[in-house]
Structures are given as structure tokens and as C-alpha cells.
């Protein structure tokens, strides 16, 4: 039986927009660096980046560079093209990725290039990058530790 591999999601649904609080994430992404918003006062991570730390209300933030290591917290396998534009991208695997070096953060991303039956909760993954035509770079995750 053919091994089915998870594809990248349909690119046309990505809608880029940024503001002063989210721009550092996308700026780092263009350089293929994974980062997350961290409160400069209490150290708490928060994504999406918002103007206040929910823990201490500070507005001071840092954007530490992360290792790119992740763990699959949960995932789905999209099997049906709810809209026709999705058809060429089935199956793809949206996933919630936890970042061990940014505790409390989960990113919605995708597990790409993986045999479907190897995508499991708890599996280690690492960041890989896809450059979009409009200049944005999107983080995806591949199975295993960083090379």
C-alpha cells in the first residue's frame, strides 16, 4: 500500500497582515529564525503577540531566538476539499505545536512531508521554512529533531 505523505497546506488561504506587535515574528521568519513574544518583565511567553502581558500587564517584550524544536500537541489530517482550491493539497496535517523553549506557547502550523501514520501526539518535530511569493516565510514542522 502506498504510504501517504502530508503535504503543505493550500497557500492561497494565507492572509498576511501584521502590526507593531506581530511584525518581529514575521521579520525573523523572513530570515528563517523562529521566535516568540516574551514578556521582558516577568518572562512569560505569549502568542499571538498582544500589547500587554496577561500575567503582569507589562508592555515590554523580547523576541528570543528559539531552537526550532517542537512537540506535536495535537493535529488533524485534512482529507476533504471543503472548497475546491484545497483539492491539490490533500492530505495536509494542521497541527498545534508546542515549543519547549517557549513554555505555554502553541503555534498553529503543519506537519509536512511526514507519513500520515507517523504523525502522533508527543512526536518531536523541527521547524522548516516555506518562502511565499509575497515575501513572507511560513514556519512548518517536519518530524524528528533538527538536523
Amino acid at each position: 500500500m502506498t504510504v501517504r505523505i502530508s503535504k503543505s497546506p493550500p497557500p492561497q488561504f494565507f492572509q498576511f497582515a501584521a502590526d507593531a506587535w506581530t511584525e518581529p515574528f514575521w521579520q525573523a521568519a523572513r530570515e528563517h529564525r523562529l521566535t516568540a513574544c516574551q514578556c521582558a518583565s516577568c518572562g512569560r511567553f505569549r502568542m499571538p503577540p498582544t500589547p500587554f502581558c496577561p500575567n503582569c500587564r507589562s508592555q515590554a517584550v523580547e523576541w528570543p531566538e528559539l531552537s526550532g524544536r517542537g512537540v506535536i500537541f495535537s493535529f488533524s489530517i485534512v482529507e476533504r476539499a471543503v472548497v475546491p482550491a484545497m483539492a491539490d493539497y490533500i492530505p495536509y496535517a494542521p497541527a498545534l505545536i508546542e515549543l519547549p523553549d517557549a513554555p505555554g506557547v502553541r503555534l498553529f502550523s503543519n506537519v509536512v512531508g511526514a507519513p500520515l501514520d507517523e504523525i502522533r501526539i508527543g512526536a518531536p518535530v523541527h521547524a522548516v521554512w516555506e518562502d511565499e511569493v509575497d515575501g513572507a516565510s511560513l514556519v512548518r514542522f517536519a518530524l524528528g529533531d533538527p538536523p
Binding site: A18, P48, S74, V78
Partner: protein, 385 residues
């Protein structure tokens, strides 16, 4: 607030498959539902002085002019989509109990001439926050709810058979109802043969797409005694939720423990306290089923079984006729119609009037929920006097 107000009238249009209500307009559907509810109550349009909406309501000025309501004294919107559906009762009850208005109509309308719910996210305008969300190719809530369902399978050992039981028990109730859009019986094989949409969610885990409008007339318990229908008391109503569930399924950054819930526990605690009853007193539950598997955490949130045990609870047959907790006895959003929570309120009222098609014998208390979704989530306990 407890028992001070009552639902005295219910009105509904027919339920239409997506788009089939055309050429009627949204206002036309809404107007038909409101007039039917007032007729049911034995009240006139000129008695109405308040409206309570959630996101699927209408512009109150247009509605007031269209129906010829002389003076509006109260109009408010629960700041939520489906999660706020039961909250219209909360607003209506507050308005009447505080004397701000005498007769409040709570309502909802759905008409899907353009938008399909399955790809609703693709229609959202670009926002800085949405960029993170759209990055993953998520086009509809089903794909995000699938992750929540998957996590519960992993942690609690929930299975697709448990999800199937929600779908099948609901379909069985729908099979006896003229109003239901899906009435053919569903077997376990049918469930497992259904197309997979966003694994682990298959087609039968998704709600229907429906056009329709429903309206509910709320007034004081005192006045209700002299009206046409047996009153159904609003024993408790609440909307809100913890910060853990702030963005709900749109971000899913809640702490691990909260991730496994439906976000309804704070609402549930307030409802039982207000109504001065316990989960054991609930005779029939109308839990919001945009996705069947999301009924399971709600069963735990509302205290019908311990955390993590909803799978075995539903497998015991609890949701079926004669079971411990008959659930969505109208066929729910999965099999009857999806007018975004409104049909659940209608069924609660019919159960407590004793006129339900799938009547639960002696039903005295009904629980209605709206959500899981971003907060505020909502709920209500209705009571037969």
C-alpha cells in the same frame, strides 16, 4: 433572577436546507418567527418593548420599524456567535427582571445564500492575529475542533465509537420529527463509512447547514400565568467564561487541563447555583452540537459525569430515550437543523410544556448550552413550574 421570568411564546419558520429559504429575506424569516412566537404567546406586536440578540440577530431598528413596534425600551446583543445563543435568555431575563422592559423577544436567524460554514475562515478579512491562524491552512472550525477531539482521544481514550454514539442517538431522535432535515437511521457502519473530513472528524460529526429563524417571547413569571401557554420559567441563565477559553478554538493556547474541556464549567457552576439544583436534577440536556465530539467535554463541564469519562458515559446509552440524560431530543444541530443554537431553546420549551415529539416523561428541568467557542459561552436552565 431565579424563576422571575418565563418563556411564554415560541415561533419558528420551517427549517430549510442551506440557501433554500430564498427568495425570502432574512428580515422576512425573522418577522415570521417573531409573529409566530407572539401568536403562540397570545400577545401582540404592540406588547413587545425589547429585543435580545447574539451575532445571528438582526438590526433592531429595522425590525422595530418593519413590525410596527411602537416603542423599544431594551435592545442588547450577547457579544458572541453560537457561543452566545443561550445568552439571549440571559439578556431577556435581566431586562424583564429589572423592569427595563416588559416583553422581550430573543431571536436568531440563519440564511446561507453565500457563505458556507465549512470554509467560513476563508472569508475573514486579513488581521495580524488571523495571519498566524491562516498560516496553517485552516479553512473552517471543524479542522480546529478536530485537534481538540484528537487530544481527548489521546488523553482520555475517547474513540470514534463514542463520537458515533452522539451522532447515532441524535439521528434516532430526529427520525421521528417532521421538522428534521436528516431522518434516515444511521448505523455504526454508516458512521464509519462516512467521508473523513478532518481526521478524526467525519462528515457525521459536523452540523448541518440550515436556513431558518426562531424567536422566543420572555416576560415576567407573574404575567406568564395569564397567558396562552404553560409558562416555562428561566430558572437560571448565564454567559461568560474563564480567560483560558478566551479565544476558544481560534487559538487553543489554553492550559493543558482546560484544553480538554468545553469551556463551560464556569457557566455550569453559576447555573446550578442560581437554579439551586444539581446535575442530577436535569431531565433533558440540549447541548450545543456544532460538532458531535464537542458534546463530550460539555457533559463533563456540566457535571453529568467526571472529567474524562464522557466516552463511557455516552457508550452506556445515557443519551438515548430512557437513558440517564436524554440529549438533543430534537435531533440537534447534527440531524435536525442548525439555526445556531435556537432550535435547542425551542426543544427545551417543548419538553417542559410536555409537547415534545420525543417527550421525556415528567421533564421538569432542561439545560441549554451555547458553544464551545470563544467566550462568552452561555447556558440556561429552564424549569416547568
Amino acid at each position: 433572577m431565579r424563576d422571575r421570568t418565563a418563556i411564554v411564546g415560541v415561533g419558528s419558520t420551517p427549517y430549510y436546507r442551506r440557501g433554500a429559504s430564498a427568495p425570502q429575506t432574512r428580515f422576512e424569516l425573522a418577522g415570521k418567527a417573531v409573529l409566530a412566537a407572539l401568536e403562540d404567546a397570545g400577545l401582540s406586536v404592540t406588547d413587545v418593548d425589547g429585543f435580545a440578540f447574539y451575532s445571528y440577530g438582526l438590526e433592531p431598528g429595522g425590525l422595530t420599524e418593519m413590525l410596527g413596534i411602537p416603542e423599544l425600551r431594551f435592545s442588547a446583543v450577547v457579544s458572541a456567535a453560537g457561543g452566545g445563543s443561550a445568552g439571549i435568555l440571559d439578556l431577556a431575563a435581566m431586562a424583564v427582571a429589572t423592569g427595563r422592559a416588559n416583553v422581550v423577544v430573543g431571536m436568531g436567524v440563519s440564511q446561507m445564500t453565500v457563505q458556507r460554514y465549512g470554509s467560513v475562515f476563508t472569508q475573514l478579512p486579513p488581521t495580524p492575529e488571523g495571519a498566524f491562524f491562516s498560516m496553517a491552512g485552516l479553512v473552517g472550525p471543524g479542522q480546529t475542533m478536530a485537534m481538540m477531539a484528537r487530544r481527548r482521544m489521546h488523553v482520555f481514550g475517547e474513540t470514534r465509537e463514542h463520537f458515533a454514539e452522539v451522532a447515532m442517538s441524535t439521528r434516532l431522535y430526529a427520525s421521528t420529527r417532521e421538522t428534521a432535515l436528516k431522518r434516515e437511521p444511521m448505523t455504526l457502519d454508516d458512521y464509519f463509512n462516512a467521508p473523513m473530513v478532518a481526521d478524526p472528524l467525519c462528515l457525521f460529526d459536523f452540523c448541518l447547514e440550515t436556513d431558518g429563524a426562531l424567536a422566543f417571547v420572555v416576560t415576567s413569571a407573574e404575567r406568564a400565568r395569564d397567558l396562552r401557554q404553560p409558562p416555562v420559567l428561566i430558572a437560571a441563565s448565564a454567559h461568560g467564561g474563564s480567560m483560558d477559553w478566551g479565544r476558544g478554538f481560534f487559538w487553543q493556547s489554553m492550559p493543558d487541563e482546560a484544553y480538554l474541556t468545553g469551556g463551560h464549567a464556569p457557566v455550569g457552576r453559576r447555573l446550578y447555583e442560581m437554579a439551586q439544583i444539581t446535575p442530577d436534577d436535569i431531565d433533558v440536556a440540549l447541548l450545543y452540537d456544532h460538532f458531535g465530539p464537542l458534546v463530550l467535554p460539555q457533559l463533563e463541564d456540566y457535571g453529568f459525569c467526571p472529567r474524562g469519562e464522557a466516552g463511557p458515559f455516552v457508550a452506556s446509552g445515557a443519551l438515548r430515550k430512557g437513558g440517564k440524560l436524554p440529549l438533543n431530543t430534537h435531533g440537534g444541530h447534527l440531524s435536525e437543523a442548525y439555526v445556531i443554537g435556537m432550535t435547542h431553546i425551542r426543544e427545551a420549551v417543548e419538553q417542559l410544556r410536555g409537547t415534545a415529539v420525543n417527550q421525556v416523561d415528567g421533564a421538569r428541568h432542561a439545560l441549554v448550552s451555547g458553544g464551545p467557542a470563544p467566550i462568552p459561552l452561555s447556558g440556561a436552565i429552564l424549569r416547568r413550574p
